[in-house]
């Protein structure tokens, strides 16, 4: 009798049903996907001059004839929250010469567009940077060395008064689109412009603007 009992002992199934576990996990995954972000925002560094009295050096820099001034403009809609229809103009030199006028230019990589325009004027430095880039691509120099060398080359160029280089002054009007300003600053990084500044429009710029567009700054 005892023998028979033993053989009839119930065998438990050791398998556990995982379906509820999967359900729960899926819910948690959904929660994390909805409530979190994987993207970390990127940043663009910007340094403004101090508000203290502009020293002489700064002023002479701007006097240089290879200054290029970009004026960014756009139309703001009735709510005053959205700028669109952006426009970009530039003039070279100081803008008070005879026959100074604004010229249209557009964003983009083309030869007549902003990228080509700046890179043509910054050829010397870009040649140097390209050499570095080749070495970086081959793996001869590390990322940080590359970045440092580029910075050094820029600093060298900024010191060298005879160097052919663009000095870019970015002047956004009050209506300009913020994205355009950032894009402009980004272009400076891409084209390795060593000196660029962000400034408000002065009287002379307003006059040039009025000549070009046909109405005063800020008027419709």
């Amino acid at each position: 009798m005892a023998k028979k009992d033993k053989s009839r002992q119930k065998k438990f199934d050791t398998r556990i049903d995982f379906t509820p576990m999967v359900d729960m996990n899926m819910l948690l995954i959904t929660f994390f996907m909805l409530c979190t972000t994987m993207l970390k925002s990127q940043t663009l560094d910007l340094a403004l001059p101090t508000n203290d009295k502009v020293d002489k050096e700064e002023e002479t820099k701007i006097q240089e004839s290879n200054a290029i001034t970009f004026i960014l403009d756009a139309t703001v809609d009735k709510t005053g929250q959205k700028a669109s229809n952006s426009k970009l103009y530039y003039y070279t030199g100081q803008g008070n010469e005879e026959g100074a006028a604004l010229t249209d230019i557009t964003f983009g990589n083309g030869k007549d567009q902003i990228r080509g325009f700046l890179q043509e004027r910054n050829k010397d430095l870009l040649k140097e940077v390209n050499k570095l880039k080749e070495r970086w691509k081959k793996g001869e120099i590390a990322d940080t060395t590359y970045n440092n060398e580029v910075k050094k080359a820029q600093a060298r160029q900024a010191q060298d008064l005879t160097a052919k280089r663009p000095i870019v002054i970015i002047k956004p009007t009050a209506n300009a689109c913020y994205a355009d300003v950032v894009r402009m600053l980004d272009e400076m990084q891409i084209s390795k412009v060593s000196t660029f500044m962000l400034q408000p429009l002065n009287k002379q710029d307003s006059t040039l603007y009025e000549q070009k567009v046909g109405h005063a700054l800020g008027a419709k």
């Binding site: 994390f32 959205k82 913020y178």
Partner: protein
Amino acid sequence: MGKVKIKKSSTVIDMTAMSDVTVLLLTFFMLTSTFLQKEPVQVITPPATSENKVPDEKLVQVLVAPDGKVYMNLTGAKDSTQLSTETFRTEVLQFAYDKYCETHPGMPKLTASQAKEFSKIGTFGVPMKDLTKWLDMTLEKRDEFLKEKGGIPIELSVKDGTTRNEFQTWLLAVKHVMGGHGEDLGRHLIGGQGVAIKAGQDAPFSHVQMVMDNLQTEKLNKFVLMTSLKAEEEK
């Protein structure tokens, strides 16, 4: 005639493998992602090719809403012995509020519980006169108030920093607190990695200009602009 045998197959599927996969996915999401910050307005930052990451500590984030309203968000150091987020927020609040009360007598006193409440709030930005009232509100009311009557007053009266608007008072408080917690922190702020401006890509530049002017007046000339990554162009 042989009977046709219908094979009876089990309908139970083994879920163990499935469970393994989901747990892995879950772990991945938990480790790699960060929680979305609750902000009164959602803005889409403009695209740029820059790859620098926004600092995740010792940061003052200035959020510019599409309508030009300005909000702030303070984050302390990760190393909480240096300056924890809570201490940072409480001290900044204390300093800024005291400074404001100097020129505006008759303001209600800031209580400890209000200060504690403030240390838990991420994005803030109400006029000082509403601040204590705002801190006493419930969560939902607070969000609503922030959206409708929020925004730190930012209009510049004088550019030389003799009279400060509220935004500048906050900035001054930030500078004071960061500077008071070690030279490193002060340098970090001045060095440009301590202030980030977050504005929408469609925003008119005048809104951002206003913030920049204020920062400049407080001698915070270096800062970062928050952008989103654009498809990589050749380095």
